[in-house]
Every structure is written in structure tokens, then in C-alpha cells.
Symmetry: C2
Subunit: 326 residues, 2 copies
């Protein structure tokens, strides 16, 4: 597998070099205070791409042969929109029972103490470290710990359930070996849809504008295919400074198929302190690309030909009005 040299990859590789790898050690010999040590969420305030635990010199890239003893459990947990009340009871219980919790710093910090208080260790890294973070979680599980790897939304929506399985496979392990399980959460499209009313009640597509892992020509082709049909469209990862042209291209493709008056709902930072919601139109969307409301924490919901705005709500009819009198 090749490692392309772009900014995101470089940042992640940088993080890989500084992350702890305590899971790969024989658990009984690990100094659990300094590496897999006590849970202190203040550890997660690290600002570099490194892990929040102290680094050591052990090699990354361990395989199943490096671990003795019985593996622990690995669960991928979706937190939903981010606020603790948006988590399911099942997710909450699973985290409370986990010995290690691994995640992106921002999400770890959203977890209340009563959920994380029982964990032996909380390991967090900043945004760019998802591959090394997931590998760390797997190493810890293979070393015998019960590990939860967390993310916002749902583990199946542009998230870590797939990466976890891919890395397990690359280590020569299996999903069964760590009793791998996925605990679903409310995806961003639904958290944001709820704030807008009923924008997504019919056939819907979710599409990410990040070309970090999917070539832009494929994204463009997908946008053309769905914009010409009656799908409502949930756009994830709409804008980043490094690829602002993807957003412009997306707006132009949508406008090639849909009326400029098509309603569009924008939700920034759903359930966060900086949450902001805006109802606009497809014709106005591109001009908002440089505004603060559109960034990587934003989800954009694009209506279909029947979507309308009424009383500050975005409504996509399901079709009942064609069959029922009310």
C-alpha cells in the first residue's frame, strides 16, 4: 500500500510516530500509570497530532503474533450528535463498561465523567490521527483489554467501523477474536434533519465532498447521478480550506439539475455550543462557502423538486397528500 504525500497524510504519519503503543506490550509488563494509566481527561488537551498518552519507542505495525494471552473486546460506539443526551442507553452502558476508551479529542471531551469515570485509560488524539488511533485501540484489545473506540454520529457513516475491521485483518486477527461489535448512533444527517423539520422523509443519499479517500471525479459523477433524480441529498464534509473548489463544483452540479429556488438547510455544529442553522436556497449556496457556517462540522441538506419551506421548517412531502384527505 502506498503512502501519498499530501498534508492530511503527513499530519497523520506525524501522529503515528508519537503515539503510545502500550497495547502491543505484554499487559503484565506495562507501566499502567505512564502509558495505559489512570483516566485523566486533561491528558486529551494535547494540541499536536500526537497521542495524549506518553510516547514510547515501540514499533507501530504489530501483528497478532506480538500478543500473548486472550484478547479483550473491541466495540465501535457511535455517540450521535455529540451532546450526552443524544447517545443511546446502549452506547452509554457500553462505554461505562469499557476498560479503555479511544477517540478523537473533541469527542472524548464531550463525554461526561459519569460515563468515563470507570475507565482505566482514555486515549485521545486530535483529528488527523484516525488511522493510528484505531490501530492503538485494536492493539489494546488484542492485548486483553475491553476497548471502546468512539466517534460522533454512527460508526457506519464515514466513520471507523470499517477501518477497525480493515486494520484487524491487516494484523492477522479476526473480528471474532476480539468479539468486535458496533453500537449505532444517530447520524449527522438525522440530527440536522430534526433541527430543520422534515427535509429527508423520502429517498435520500449521503455524499461526502472530501476527496481525501475518494477521487473527485467519482464524487462529481455521483452528484450528477442523484441530483437528476428525486433524492434529497445530505452533504457531509462540505468545505475545507484545502479543497474549497470541491464545494463550488458540487453547487454547480446541483444547479445543473435543480431549480435555484430549491430549499437548502445548513446545520453547523449540531448539538455543540456553536450550533447554527440556516435555511437558504440552492442558488444562494455557493456564495456561503466562505462563511463561517460552512466548515467540516457542517451538514448541508438539499431538498428535491417538492421540498418547501413553511413556518421556518423545511418539508419534503412523502406523498401522502396524493392519497389522503387531511
Amino acid at each position: 500500500m502506498s503512502t501519498e504525500s499530501n498534508i492530511e497524510t503527513t499530519e497523520t504519519d506525524a501522529s503515528t510516530g508519537t503515539e503510545s503503543n502500550c497495547g502491543a506490550s505484554d499487559e503484565t509488563t506495562v507501566d499502567s500509570t505512564s502509558k495505559c494509566g489512570a483516566s485523566t481527561e486533561s491528558e486529551s488537551s494535547s494540541s499536536s497530532c500526537g497521542g495524549s498518552s506518553e510516547s514510547n519507542e515501540q514499533e507501530i505495525g504489530s501483528t497478532i503474533a506480538d500478543f500473548d494471552g486472550d484478547p479483550g473486546r473491541l466495540i465501535a460506539v457511535g455517540l450521535g450528535p455529540g451532546e450526552p443526551a443524544g447517545m443511546t442507553a446502549r452506547a452509554r452502558a457500553a462505554l461505562a463498561e469499557s476498560e479503555h476508551i479511544v477517540g478523537y479529542t473533541t469527542y472524548v471531551e464531550l463525554l461526561p465523567d459519569e460515563i468515563t469515570g470507570g475507565a482505566e485509560d482514555i486515549y485521545s488524539t486530535p483529528m488527523c490521527g484516525e488511522v493510528s488511533r484505531t490501530e492503538e485501540a485494536i492493539d489494546r484489545a488484542l492485548a486483553g483489554n475491553d476497548v471502546a473506540i468512539i466517534g460522533s454520529g454512527d460508526p457506519n457513516v464515514y466513520a471507523l467501523s470499517g477501518l477497525a475491521l480493515e486494520i484487524l485483518e491487516s494484523k492477522g486477527a479476526t473480528a471474532s477474536m476480539v468479539d468486535f461489535d458496533v453500537i449505532p448512533g444517530v447520524p449527522a444527517a438525522q440530527s440536522c434533519g430534526a433541527r430543520l423539520g422534515a427535509p429527508l422523509v423520502n429517498d435520500t443519499v449521503s455524499i461526502s465532498l472530501s476527496d481525501h479517500l475518494t477521487p473527485m471525479e467519482e464524487i462529481e459523477s455521483r452528484l450528477h447521478a442523484v441530483a437528476s433524480e428525486g433524492f434529497t441529498i445530505a452533504i457531509y464534509n462540505p468545505w475545507s480550506r484545502k479543497r474549497r473548489e470541491n464545494f463550488e463544483i458540487c453547487c454547480e452540479i446541483l444547479l445543473a439539475h435543480r431549480d435555484p429556488e430549491t430549499p437548502v438547510g445548513i446545520v453547523h455544529g449540531a448539538s455543540r455550543e456553536d450550533e447554527e442553522t440556516l435555511l437558504t436556497t440552492l442558488g444562494e449556496l455557493e456564495a456561503l462557502g466562505e462563511e463561517a457556517i460552512i466548515d467540516m462540522t457542517t451538514t448541508i441538506l438539499v431538498g428535491n423538486d417538492e421540498t418547501y419551506v413553511w413556518d421556518d421548517r423545511m418539508v419534503t412531502p412523502r406523498g401522502y397528500e396524493t392519497k389522503y384527505e387531511y
Copy 2:
């Protein structure tokens, strides 16, 4: 608006005639024992399409002019997969605070007593009554009650948030008048995806095969559009006795664009007692249409060109393997 004469419509119309309409009365004059009376879940065992509360002769089709006093609150609550542990804390709290809970009998029966125990009334109707049930919920809110209307999954995924807004509008009310709010839940695609591993981690479309509210030619056109692109596909409402040919057409369209070996995951009754999961291939799918595992409680997840099955898990790579070494 016309009322087409088909079986589903007829059933629903039948239910309309037998549902109570206590919300439309001036609340102070309603006999709250017989109509908006005490909560007894056993009421919900009605087997006809009628409501579980006793019927009365009042006319359906009330408008805002029929209500005096201040309206209550109306929330559309997504329960997620059905088991209480799959609900968010926010959904649970909202139901516990609601004076009236309105929903499809099966979902009402899934709610534990500690959630419903505080409600003044629980009103449930069988499957075919969603329009009259939603109208009943709105009438109760307009009459001054705090009402929750519930459904499985998320209120924005083939569900009632849109219908609630449409009926509010038809009554001359507004969403603001009842402080309308939507509480999201985990959609079936994600509940089912979690059981299968990581089938949906990249761009995904959800599409319903029910042509009750969407013409079959539109469904076919949408299937063609997305099957020829790299979307994974979550199929809702895949099969019913009345329209078994939709499922056959769907399978044929998918096979026109994708390899017969494409992995397909089938989840029947997620989180219910009769839950069943099956991993198969696109080439085998059509033959399963007449089997018990595929019915209206089933969600079918169709992989893309890169999806594979490993250790009993269905994995759609996100693309990390093209950029990272692990």
C-alpha cells in the same frame, strides 16, 4: 386531494371512521376517562384498523378554528431500532414528560412502563392508520396537551415528521403554534449496518420499494441512477404480498449494474425477538424474496464494487488502504 381506491387507502379510511377525536373537543368538556382517558396499554391490542380509544361521532377534519385555549406541544420522537436501550436519553426524557403518547401499536408496546407510566393517555392504532393517527396527535396538541408521536428509527426516515407538518398546515395551524420539535433516532439502515459490521461507511443511498406513495417508475429510475455509481444502497420496505414484483424488478436493476457476487446483507426485525441476519450475494437475492426473512420489517444493504465479506462481517472500505500503511 383525491383518495385513490386501493387496499391500503381503504384500510386507512376505515380506521379514520372509528378513531376518537377527543383533541378536537374543548378539553374542559371532554370525558377524559372514556376518550382521552387513563393510560392503559392493553387498549392497544385492538386488531382492527380502528384506534385503541373508544370511537365517538365527532367529525374528523377539524381545523384550528375548532380549538379554544392555548395549544400544547407536539414532538415527533424516533425510538431507534425498537429495544428501549436503542433510544437516546433525549427521546426517553421527552416521552416521560409527555401527557399523551400516540403511535403504531407495535411500537407503543415496545415502550417500558417506566417511560409511559406518567402519561395521561396512550393512543395507538395498527399499522395502516398513520394519517389518522397523526391527525389525532395534532388535534390533541391543539387542544392543549403535550403530545409525543412516536415511530421506530428516525422521524425523518420514511416517517412522520413530514406528515405531521403537512397536517398542521392543512388545519391552518403552524409548527410554531405547537412548538413542534423532532427528536432524532437511529435509523434502520444504521441499526442493521451495525449488525453486519461496516457495510455503509462510504456514500450511501436509502430507497424504499413501496410504491404506495411514490410511483414505481420513479423508484426504478432512482435504482438505475445509484446502482451505476459507487453508492452502497439501503433498501427499505423491500417486500409485501401486494407488490412482490417491485422486489423482483429491483433485483434485476441492481444486477444490470453490479456483479452477482456483490455482497448483500439482510436484517429482519432488528432488535426484535424475531431478529435474523443473513449475508448473501446480489445474484442470490431475488430467490429470497418469498422467504420469511424478507418482509416489511427487513432492511437490505447492498454493497458496492469494493464491498467484501470477511469473518462474517460485511465491509465496504472507506479508502484508507490507498493512503495509509497498516
